[in-house]
């Protein structure tokens, strides 16, 4: 009886209506309501920003960048940020303060283009008292200096907020992460090694080319001494990390790759110094400096992490810094750390319940999807218990805290054992497994060579021993893994798959069980298709679509918003709604142009005596009645990510599969079909159940990959051998994990696993190549006749060729595994500058 029609054809008609776009944010707006100088604005907020910018001569903001600007909610109040001025919060928040100038770092998630950088660095033109501001684009941070005698911290925050760059204030911001000096030190070490490499090479080249035969031997002596002097900072500064790492490892009776390298450095430097001081030769100082130069470059390559990615976030990064407290009828915004048990808090639409609490008044409609995985918001009445981490939808509610912020339901998870142990077990890496064997073999060869020569020629035996250590110094070996895994990490980052560190590839290659979360991982919130089926096949007219959109857009229910968003994508002209009313858990209704519309659940619409037919649809139904008559409905659903079935089919058989969902069982059947009966499906799983499930799998000898998105998965992600956090926006909060994945890339998990296994094979091949060099070098060295020129050529040649093999093969493997392809999306940090329009 019903014919289903794509609603896009309906709304396509509506798009032809002339819709004015806001000059600031591009939202469709009613012409003439907020207009100035021939420019239309959607709201007073956007208009105010424009006025502010044009007064300060900053209209260039609109010429730069990509034209995407956030809508400005009118009425920023400094009051909302007043809590920042309390001495306790302020002193923990600012970076530097001497009474005359204050420096503060704000995290501004809305920074996204050239214009943002320009505007934020020109803040001083907008308000007196503001000094220099510096934007760190990849981290989306702005470091702002201001004069505390003129401006308060809250006023600076309010200024940013009024420009549509609301600072993100999280509980975790109060604890400053220690400054990471590692990158800086690594650059210095590389620079010093490079400096010494270049200069000693100049001397050595002259000697290799036969300088000593032409000129006086005094040059030889001079060059030797200069090289020795240049090598001192190399050995003390550039090689410092190898001494530290070897010393630490030997105390633990382990042999990581640093140990044979340290042996090699000692042997080369000792032999060279002796040669120079005794006047018997000129040493291998050029090789030594070159070795450390390449090794440090390898470390820079490996340690380049993704600045805006935070892999170690916990619940404090999820919680806001401030809440509204009501005391004796007065509402004030206070820092979350000040909240005590028994305080009354006001939670508005979209805000978090910050601690376990009791609902005092108001209609609670709590969205726990991020915390428990329940897809649907739950209604809560007075006196009912609310868990921390839920998000209130709808009107404001008043709650009374029953537990301290750091003791709630959520934080129990963080007291688990899984969170206490460090996950970075460097000794188990492939390189170190190989190096263990390698070191013993080298020592064996060196001792044998020495013993073999000793009876005939003591000096030659000693030389053979040292030569073996010099030649076998596993420079190429040490470079193979960093360059292979590092380039693999970059390949994945191009697909918006971000790894905590390159070693995660090795862990991925060993995975044999894959566990999925449901909500937000296999299903997506807000991307499924929305299909219209009208009564008697009638399509929605443009006016009707506009009316439905206007009413649905005012609802707080996720499904109504999906309908509104789907219709809004067609660019409808806005219409006025009167008599709007929302019934929590049922739907919304309102009047448009004298017609009454009711949008909501079938049961609720039926109560209006509109007969709602039974329609077998997939997904959730959003029924629409106009003037008491059934008009049709939207099927919101098919929320399972596309290609999920292909993913599961490709994984089935090769991996043990499981689904752990915090949601109830209503979708069990659907997922049983998807998993093909092969996987274990568990519903109603709490965070601790998930953690225990992973632990049990590991006890049975499995290496587990867990993919999840919510805080309820945090324990499981942490416990798993590889935790994959799925997020719709890679810059937003995601729980601690090893991999951060853009939601749309979930179906590619199979390809990533294949890719990782191939990459590890590439590492092994690179090991073989470098071993081949070592065998050749060893053959010469063990004979006790190592000429410096062979050493000087072999060393850089082996390093460079291993690097080329490693990077080249990784790119090739990436193409074979389908990890790269036509849809390469560059990493946000790297893409922005080139995408930005030139002024």
């Amino acid at each position: 009886m019903e014919a289903t029609a794509e609603f896009s054809t309906v709304t396509g008609v509506a798009a032809k209506q002339e819709a004015m776009a806001c000059f600031h944010c591009g939202t469709a707006c009613v012409p003439g309501r907020h207009a100035q100088g021939g420019r239309e604005f959607c709201c007073a907020g956007c208009q105010t920003v424009f006025e502010l910018l044009s007064e300060a001569g900053l209209v260039r903001y609109y010429e730069l960048g990509d034209g995407v600007r956030a809508r400005v909610e009118a009425g920023t109040i400094t009051e909302a940020f007043r809590f920042l001025d309390t001495p306790e919060v302020r002193s923990r928040f600012v970076d530097f303060d001497d009474g005359q100038s204050t420096r503060v770092t704000f995290h501004l998630p809305h920074i996204h283009c050239l214009a943002c950088v320009w505007l934020l660095e020109n803040l001083f033109r907008l308000k007196p008292g503001i000094g220099k501001s510096i934007v760190h684009f990849p981290r989306k941070q702005a470091v702002i200096t201001f004069d505390p005698t003129v401006l308060k911290l809250s006023e600076v925050a309010a200024l940013l907020d009024s420009l549509a760059y609301p600072p993100e204030l999280r509980l975790a911001d109060l604890e400053k992460p220690p400054v990471n000096p590692l990158t800086r030190r690594l650059w210095l070490q590389t620079g010093i090694a490079g400096f010494a490499f270049g200069n000693t090479m100049l001397f050595s080249l002259a000697i290799y080319l036969g300088l000593d035969s032409v000129s006086a031997p005094s040059f030889l002596k001079l060059f030797g001494v200069l090289s020795l002097l240049l090598s001192i900072p190399v050995v003390t500064v550039s090689a410092r990390d190898y001494w530290v790492a070897s010393w630490r490892a030997l105390k633990l009776r382990q042999i990581p790759i640093e140990v044979p390298i340290a042996f090699g450095i000692v042997a080369i430097w000792g032999q060279s110094t002796w040669e120079v001081l005794s006047g018997t030769g000129e040493g291998y100082f050029d090789s030594l400096a070159g070795l450390l130069f390449f090794l440090n470059i390898g470390r820079i390559f490996q340690q380049k992490t993704f600045d805006r990615m935070a892999f170690d976030l916990d619940y404090r990064s999820f919680f806001p810094l401030s809440v509204i407290r009501r005391r004796a009828g007065v509402e004030e915004r206070v820092s979350l750390v000040e909240v005590a048990v028994g305080d009354r808090l006001v939670v508005r639409h979209g805000e978090l319940v910050a601690a376990d609490a009791r609902l005092v008044s108001g209609a609670g409609m709590i969205d726990y999807s991020f915390v428990t995985g329940e897809a649907e918001p739950v209604a809560r009445g007075a006196d009912e218990r609310l868990h921390a981490g839920g998000r209130q939808l709808g009107g404001a509610i008043e709650i009374e805290t029953v537990k301290a912020v750091n003791q709630g339901y959520l934080t129990d998870l963080w007291n688990q054992e899984a969170f206490r142990k460090s996950k970075d077990d460097a000794f188990g890496t492939l390189t170190n497994l190989y190096s263990r064997r390698f070191t013993w073999i080298i020592l064996g060869v060196a001792v044998t060579a020495a013993l073999a020569w000793m009876p005939f020629d003591v000096a030659r035996g000693l030389k053979a021993f040292i030569s073996v250590l010099i030649v076998a110094c596993p420079c190429a070996l040490a470079l193979a893994a960093p360059f292979t895994l590092g380039s693999a990490q970059r390949v994945l980052a191009r697909r918006r798959i971000f790894l905590r560190n390159p070693e995660v590839i090795e862990a991925l290659a060993r995975i044999d069980a894959v566990v999925f979360d449901k909500t937000g991982t296999l299903t997506s919130t807000g991307t499924g298709d929305v299909r219209w089926s009208g009564a008697s096949g009638a399509e929605l007219s443009a006016t009707e679509a506009a009316a439905v959109r206007a009413i649905a857009a005012q609802s707080i229910h996720p499904r109504a918003r999906r309908v509104a968003d789907a219709l809004a994508a067609r660019g409808l002209a806005p219409v006025d709604v009167t008599g709007f009313q929302e019934v929590t858990g049922c739907g919304v209704e309102g009047w448009v142009d004298g017609r009454h519309l009711r949008i909501g659940s079938p049961a609720w619409v039926e109560r209006e005596r509109a007969a709602v037919p039974e329609v077998p649809v997939r997904g959730s139904r959003v029924v629409i009645a106009v003037d008491g008559a059934y008009r049709g409905e939207f099927a919101v659903g098919g929320e399972i990510r596309p290609e999920t079935d292909t993913l599961l089919k490709s994984l089935a058989g090769r991996y043990e599969l499981a689904l752990l969902s915090g949601d109830n069982e209503r979708e069990r059947e659907r997922f049983t079909t998807l998993f093909g009966g092969g996987g274990r499906l568990h519903f109603n799983q709490g965070p601790l159940h998930k953690l225990a499930f992973i632990r049990d799998l590991q006890k049975s000898g499995r290496r587990v990959l867990m993919a999840g998105d919510g805080l309820n998965d945090a324990g499981a992600l942490r416990q798993a051998d590889v935790g994959v956090a799925v997020t719709e926006d890679v810059a937003s909060f995601s729980p601690a994990s090893d991999v951060i994945l853009q939601g749309g890339e979930v179906p590619r998990i199979g390809a990533v696993l294949d890719f990782s296994r191939r990459v590890v094979r590439v590492v092994r091949i690179s090991f073989l190549v470098s071993t081949a060099y070592n065998v050749i070098g060893l053959a010469i060295a063990a004979s006790g006749k190592l000429s410096p020129i062979v050493c000087a050529v072999l060393m850089p040649l082996s390093s460079v060729s291993v690097v080329v093999v490693a990077c080249g093969l990784t790119e090739w493997v990436a193409r074979r595994s389908g990890v790269t392809g036509s849809q390469i999306s560059p990493t946000p940090g790297e893409s922005m500058p080139t995408e930005a329009k030139q002024p």
Partner: protein
Amino acid sequence: MSVILILIPLSLIVAALFLGAFIWAVRGGQFEDTCTPSMRVLTDDGTVKAPEAERFQNQNGKSR
């Protein structure tokens, strides 16, 4: 050939100057954000400068 005795110290001094410049750049934090400066240069018309008190400049390197 004895001119080498002058040239070598000279070349080492020049190289050391470059090393010094490099160390200064690393200490100043220039290697920590290589992205934003590349955007800044596109908008820099050099007309208006931030009111720079001396102390404001000195802390640039210490930003986290």
